[in-house]
Structures are given as C-alpha cells and as structure tokens.
Symmetry: C2
Subunit: 218 residues, 2 copies
C-alpha cells in the first residue's frame, strides 16, 4: 500500500459517499458494483480499484452492502471525527458556510468567526459570534483549532497567512482565490478557487474552437 | 494533437494565468521556465508539456515573454470572450458572486438572478435584479444565455435541471452539492461542491492514521 493515495482517488471518495447516502435515504441496502458504477458514471473496476486502496469491501456475487460501505468510506474521509473550525472573513461566503447545516453533520463545528469590519464585529449568526480580527493570533494560541476557513479578499491574505504559519492549525480551507504556498509546507490546504473554476468552465465551453485554432497555427 | 485535453492540464491553466498576471502586476516582463516553475511549485517540463498542447510558447535560452503568454493562455481559457450569465438562487453564494468584481473582468456578466423567495424577488444588488423563478423557463427561451449558475439547495434542483435540459444554455456552474448527470450529456457542467471539498480536507488531515489502520486490517 502506498503512503499517499492519488488526489484523483481522494476526490472521488466524497462522491461515492454522497451516492451511497442517497441510496440509503431511499432504503436501498445492497447494490451490485455494476449498478453502482452506472449510477455514478464511473466504471465498476474504477470503483473496485479506488476502494482497494483502503482494504477490501464488497463481496463477489453479492455486490456492496451499502450501509457498511457508507460507514467505512465515512471513516476513510475522517468524518466520523469532529473538528473545531473558525472562519476568517465574514462576508457572503463566510455567512453561507455558517448557514449550511450539513457541515456540522459532517463533524465540522464553526465556533466563531473573525472580521476586521467593525459593522459586523460583535454580531451573531446561527449562534456564531464575529470577533475582531485583532484577536485572531491570541485566539489560535489559546484554543486548539483544527480547521481555519479563509474567506477574505486577496489583499488581506498576507497577515493571516503569517499568523497561520506560526500556529498549530492542521487544515486550511481556502476561499481566497490565491495559493498559500508557504502554508502548504506545514499544514493541509484545500482550495476552493471560484475564479479558477469559472475559467475551467469557459475553457470547456470553448475547447473545440480553441483546439481547432491551435491546429491551424501549428 | 488530441481532441480533448486532460482535465488535470485544464485545471492548471487558470493557475498559470493567475501567476503570470501577478508577475505583470509587478512589472516583470520575462521569466525563465525554471523561475516560473519554482514560483508555481510545478516542474519546468510539466509547464512546457501543458503549454505544448496548445502550440509553442517561450523561446529557448530566453524563457517566456510574460505578457504574450498571459494573453495566449487567456485566449485558451476563453476569457477574451464575453458570456451572458444568470444566477438561480440568490442566497449567500449567489450574492457573493454578484459582489465579486473579478468575474465581469473575466468576461462573465451576470444580467439577472432568479429566486422563489418573495422577500428577495424584486430586490437589486449591484445592478442585478432578482426575478421570480416562475419566469425562468420563458426567460431562457427569450434570451440567449451562455452560463447558468445554480446556487439552490438540493431539494430545489429537480425542476431547474429539467428546464435547463430543454434549454440552449452552454454551461452550468453548479454550487448545489449534487451532480447534474442528465445535464452533463447536453452541456458543460463545472461543479463547486463545498461538501466534497471539506471531506477532501478532512481526509488529507487524517490520511496518515487512516492508511495505518488499513494496513493493520489487511
């Protein structure tokens, strides 16, 4: 077994988890690897290969026991644990996260938020209080925080990156539209880069004509 | 040249574009492939291979002309064009997108939003008016819309998916936390699945202990 699993595999696990959850919601308890693969648009051998990275699941001639597989993938994804999280930047994105009940169901508890805007500091949303960003560094020293979610604009990122670099935070969920290369050496960073995502969409929408043009040029 | 470029390559292009833009902002006009690769944490040969999919860029012994490369990658990403876009679901995510000035700089113009909540229907944010969702189907028939952004909760997705399936929309930017398999046959779908992203982070944070446990089990 390798010491790291490829990112492509990891990225498929949450999808498996979601689909199995949906089947459970419909009271379906067993599924053949063929049916699962058709539902998900992934080949059956891909699913088997992905899961084999983590042990053996499923039985020949029976398929998968959905409840068991769901629970095992949940453990692999680490969502049987709980995480203390804070949000830095309480704009629309920060508020969307606090309004989303699913995160706490997956073990992520936002305990407070930080912002520099004095019109939001001191306010509360869904029981999450917004603190002044000036107290962020001390807060991280005094509290064991697992995940820091960054939802500030690019020009505010420098000082936050520095505070995080000197902290014991384990994971950063980064919505800032810029890479946090210095932090990636020290902790786990997961980027949600909306601008990159939108550019990927515009590429896909134009791929055919773009590749034709490249062919002409060559 | 292949007819499709692998998704891994496509996903790196916006990153190249961002880094080159940052260099331009610093008035840097030339860079060697070695320096560019160090800055970006990608090997120089990876960058060369990626770009070679689209033609030849850069000069031996000189490196890259940043302005030229920036402009060429922009064209590859299709952001030299403009797109008419609408948002379905005007909660925090929808509002965050309208508040973000960078999207229009990349050619994406949100012309209006749709929601079913009568307390937001008729309101306006940054010049974007919120229309009643009941008019969404007719609107798509009467207007040529390139991109529909979906930012509604899972339980509201069914009827919207059906309307889109019968439309001429070219791209869907999907924030709904569920897959839109039926649409993927007909148009380009780019998913921003926050729950999947958070599970990927929790996996990374626990990978070492998870793989150790799997080893013990095997």
């Amino acid at each position: 077994m390798s010491e790291h699993i490829s990112l492509a595999v990891i990225k498929r696990l949450p999808k498996y988890y979601r689909y199995l959850g949906e089947l459970l919601d419909m009271d379906i308890t067993k599924i053949s690897s063929k049916d699962l693969s058709e539902k998900m648009g992934v080949t059956a051998s891909q699913i088997r290969q992905d899961l084999n990275n983590f042990g053996s699941f499923g039985l020949q001639g029976y398929g998968y026991n959905i409840e068991l597989l769901y629970s095992e993938i949940g453990k692999i994804l680490g969502i049987d644990r709980s995480y203390k999280a804070v949000i830095v930047g309480f704009g629309n994105i920060g508020q969307a996260l606090v309004n989303h009940s699913l995160f706490s169901k997956r073990g992520v508890d936002f305990i407070c938020a930080f912002d520099k805007d004095q019109t939001v500091v001191g306010t509360e949303l869904n029981g999450i209080k917004v603190e002044d960003i000036s107290g962020f560094k001390d807060f991280l020293e005094e509290n064991e925080i697992d995940i820091v979610t960054i939802a500030v604009p690019k020009h505010s990122i420098g000082s936050i990156e520095k505070i995080l670099y000197n902290s014991n935070v384990k994971g950063v969920w980064n919505f800032s539209n810029c890479d946090l290369n210095s932090l990636e050496e020290k902790m786990h960073v997961e980027n949600v880069n909306l601008m990159d995502s939108l550019m990927t969409l515009s590429y896909k929408m134009n791929e055919k004509s773009i590749l034709e043009k490249c062919n002409v040029k060559k």
